[in-house]
């Protein structure tokens, strides 16, 4: 049933991303930052997808450690890779925004630093999976749980410590004229994330299938 909905979902996502620039154009300029604040409409949804993916990876890793189900491990790997993808978008669009808004490309404040740490934790997860050898999936699952635990610190860092970064209240208190563009982009990113997660899970499942096929072939040859 879900396979039948995949192609329509791809079409819906494509339409949403085509319409997004028009909605962003319609949204008003922010009073202090002006045009550069328009980066917000892609920067924040990408950051939220990064956080969602860290939770998906962490929960799937817990499930994998508890049940040893291959499907959970496949989901964890897929989600970890997507953290890096959305993380790259966040970590590049952020400094482009900051250069104009703050006058600097980067500042080692709590939000920015903890985001980089989060990104590096999942980069470590993938490196561990790639080069860790047999049994590394369980060790990597542990890293993913710590990565997931880091997400609340990243999210609330702007409220707890003094940073240049805007606080979390910015989104809930968003002006009604800015909301359509933001929520449209958010759902477009969410759909894109779900499609990519499933495609990446499929790749992992096919890799496992190939390994099984080689093992069976080897045994038959002997």
């Amino acid at each position: 049933m879900m396979s039948r909905s995949f192609v329509p979902l791809v079409c819906v996502t494509a339409v949403m991303f085509v319409v997004a620039p028009w909605l962003i154009m319609q949204a008003p300029f922010e009073s202090t930052m002006g045009l550069v604040q328009k980066i917000f409409y892609f920067h924040v949804p990408a950051a939220l997808m990064m956080f969602v993916s860290a939770f998906v990876c962490g929960v799937a890793s817990i499930r994998f450690l508890a049940t040893r189900r291959k499907a959970s491990d496949q989901t964890a790997v897929a989600a970890a890779e997507l953290i890096l993808v959305f993380g790259i978008i966040v970590l590049i669009t952020g400094p482009l925004w900051a250069r104009k808004a703050w006058g600097i490309w980067w500042d080692w404040d709590a939000r920015l630093t903890s985001t980089v740490v989060l990104w590096m934790m999942f980069a470590a997860y993938l490196l561990l999976r790639r080069f860790g050898g047999p049994g590394s999936e369980r060790l990597a699952a542990g890293v993913a749980i710590f990565g997931m635990a880091n997400v609340p610190f990243v999210y609330w860092s702007v409220n707890v410590w003094r940073t240049l970064h805007p606080k979390t209240t910015v989104v809930p208190s968003l002006d009604p004229s800015m909301r359509p563009a933001f929520y449209w982009c958010f759902f477009a990113f969410l759909l894109l994330y779900l499609l990519l997660l499933n495609a990446r899970r499929r790749l992992e499942a096919q890799r496992d299938r190939l390994t099984q096929l080689y093992l069976t072939y080897d045994l038959e040859e002997r």
Partner: protein, 119 residues
Amino acid sequence: MIFATLKPRLTGRVTRALGAMTLAVGVLTGLPMGALLTDAAAPDVFAQAQTPPPAAQDEFVPLKDVPPTEQLPAARLVMAAYSVAWIVIAGYIFLLWRRLSRVEQEIQTVGQRFQASRR
């Protein structure tokens, strides 16, 4: 999940559809965004470079508001940010499609070899 029940041939079609979608959306969103941003773009910096160098300053005079020509062009930064987002997404979809195609082709090859050796 969505992909779990897909047949390999269908998956190939789906990944191709993803690739085509990225390209189409990239072009379609790039055009209006470009139109929006060229309107707001700052004057060319090379034009300023051609003017003769100013005389040496004796003192610094404070100024409250920086003139618009001295400000960083926000349009270029916005354009760069949206381009980066698109390039990263499109690049990832392309890599995913290539990896999936390779693995599925290998599964087919190994499956055929396996069948042949059994006969």
